[in-house]
């Protein structure tokens, strides 16, 4: 029994460490569908506040931005507080026009020494660096069930 354990241990003695030296040697581990900082397409956003409504951490506010946005008559765009955000991507999923997406910018890249800088205005959200990973198309659109037990009530009933 002990020899078996020794053989197993010797196997691990000659292997390289599993841990990685981040960020000195390698970049942080990122997958193709990782949910990182949001990126906003201001030419698509209609200012409907759906992202604000579904945010479970209440980190999205709608703020006014000056400029020429014909699809957004009230000129209201989401402002996201990244220090509160849990990166659940509900805002991306429920955005009716697909204006919000998520990028690979995550982890220590979001750390700041000043808490005020985590509050990203709509114009800053447009300029987030990093590849776009999660968009509205990545979410499965539900099929309408053949028979659902009861018809859901409408709001206010």
């Amino acid at each position: 029994m002990a020899t078996q354990t020794l053989i197993k241990s010797l196997k691990y003695l000659f292997t390289t460490p599993y841990t990685r030296l981040v960020p000195r040697k390698v970049k942080p581990f990122k997958t193709e569908k990782i949910r990182g900082a949001h990126i906003l397409d201001m030419n698509k956003c209609t200012g409907c506040s759906m992202c604000q409504q579904v945010c479970p951490a209440a980190c999205i506010d709608m703020v006014q931005v000056e400029g020429n946005y014909p699809q957004n008559p009230r000129k209201r765009f989401p402002r996201i507080d990244h220090s509160k955000c849990t990166f659940c991507a509900l805002c991306v999923e429920y955005c009716p026009v697909g204006a919000l997406s998520m990028t690979t910018r995550t982890g220590y890249e979001l750390f700041t020494i000043d808490k005020n800088t985590t509050l990203k205005s709509p114009l800053e959200l447009c300029r987030i660096e990093g590849e776009v990973t999660v968009t509205k198309e990545d979410f499965v659109v539900g099929i309408t069930p053949v028979k659902l037990g009861e018809v859901p009530l409408k709001r206010g009933e």
Partner: protein, 367 residues
């Protein structure tokens, strides 16, 4: 207790022998622990109340946040309870993927547990190998669900994200890696004479005692009582796969460890069977409206720590009226520890091993 020759020691929440953010007030007679009192509340956030104030779709992101080690079962249970209210039949494909998610979570949780018990005994080396295997599972979750620990994959109605094209091949590769590591850890940990000496005959429970104390999960199965919700009250597609329910004999800390390692292999076998049934091009989700009709929904799942029950009452509208969670760790940290201490001679050195062998999750107790 005070008048006798006893000493009071506060144990935790910063002590490395405590399984998380919880403290104990211990009465010591020499080095024997005579009595222990749990001091909870370090992680109390009022989840049940918070869930009443958030909408149905928001609650998914909240439902799993009170157990880091095993969040998948909590998430699946919430989704199942909401589906129970509307009597929804989700696609078969989504059920298989939920099973894969749940079993992956169980493996990750048990592997992480071997790190805790290794640490409490001083056998850290094999425990680090286990964390390597868990890391591969977390990376797998990162690819499938976008995040490593909190996945947000199962929502009321089915599965939220599209699956990658190489889902099956990648999962099989991860499973092979995990199985190899788990066998190495089992060899080095369970067959180690120090581990045996420290855990055998420690914290014994009989089946009757365990049932009386309200214990479920691996701790109950280690006593020899064959009770597993996946077999006794099957949910998802657990009645369509073949697997065994590992049981122990005398219900001590060593038996619990053996049962947990056997469960890892059974979970791997379940995932391999479920993978054959997954069809990547078939639907994964049905539409459930943003409002839920009045009614009650209950879901019971066999989580890595025992039976987890969630009961939701809806009065119609956008938010639940009442959410009740039955935690897995409540009996483990309160009644079981008290009972074992009153019956057995546990020293202060064995107390962390006893706690680790029960594998409680203190945030789940606090909620």
């Amino acid at each position: 207790m005070e008048g006798r020759n006893t000493q009071i020691v506060y144990f935790g929440p910063q002590h490395p022998g405590v399984p998380g953010n919880i403290a104990f007030k211990l009465w010591l007679d020499g080095d024997r622990v005579v009595k222990a009192e749990v001091i909870p509340g370090f992680l109390h956030r009022g989840f049940e109340k918070m869930m009443e104030n958030r909408t149905w779709e928001m609650n998914v992101t909240l439902s799993y946040r009170f157990c880091v080690e095993d969040p998948d079962h909590l998430e699946i249970a919430y989704a199942m309870a909401v589906e129970d209210i509307v009597n929804a039949n989700i696609p078969e494909n989504a059920k298989w993927i939920r099973m894969i998610q749940a079993e992956m979570g169980r493996i990750a949780s048990h592997l992480f547990w071997s790190h805790f018990i290794g640490g409490s005994i001083g056998l850290r080396t094999p425990a680090y190998w286990a964390v390597t295997a868990r890391e591969e599972i977390l990376k797998w979750f990162g690819r499938i669900a976008g995040h490593r620990v909190y996945h947000n994959l199962s929502v009321p109605g089915g599965i939220r994200y599209k699956l990658p094209a190489d889902f099956k091949e990648h999962t099989l590769k991860v499973l092979d890696f995990v199985e190899e590591k788990a066998r190495d850890v089992e060899e080095a940990l369970l067959k180690n004479s120090v581990f045996k000496a420290r855990t055998r005959n420690l914290g014994k429970l009989t089946s009757e005692e365990a049932l009386m104390l309200g214990v479920t999960g691996p701790v109950l199965r280690a006593t020899g009582y064959k009770y597993d919700l996946r077999v006794n009250a099957p949910y998802l597609n657990y009645d369509k796969v073949k697997f065994e329910v590992p049981t122990g004999s005398i219900g001590d800390a060593y038996d619990r460890s053996v049962v947990r390692f056997k469960e890892i292999y059974q979970s791997i076998s379940i995932i391999r069977q479920a993978l054959e049934e997954v069809k990547l091009d078939e639907p994964l989700r049905i539409k459930i409206g943003l409002t839920i009709p009045p009614g009650e929904g209950v879901a019971r799942v066999e989580s890595a720590r025992g039976e987890y029950v969630i009961h939701i009452i809806s009065q119609g509208g956008r938010k639940p009226y009442r959410v009740r969670l039955r935690s897995m760790s409540m009996p483990l940290l309160t009644t079981v520890v008290d009972y074992i201490l009153s019956k057995e001679e546990i020293t202060i050195a064995d107390f962390p091993v006893l706690l680790a062998s029960l594998d409680p999750c203190p945030p789940d107790l606090d909620r």
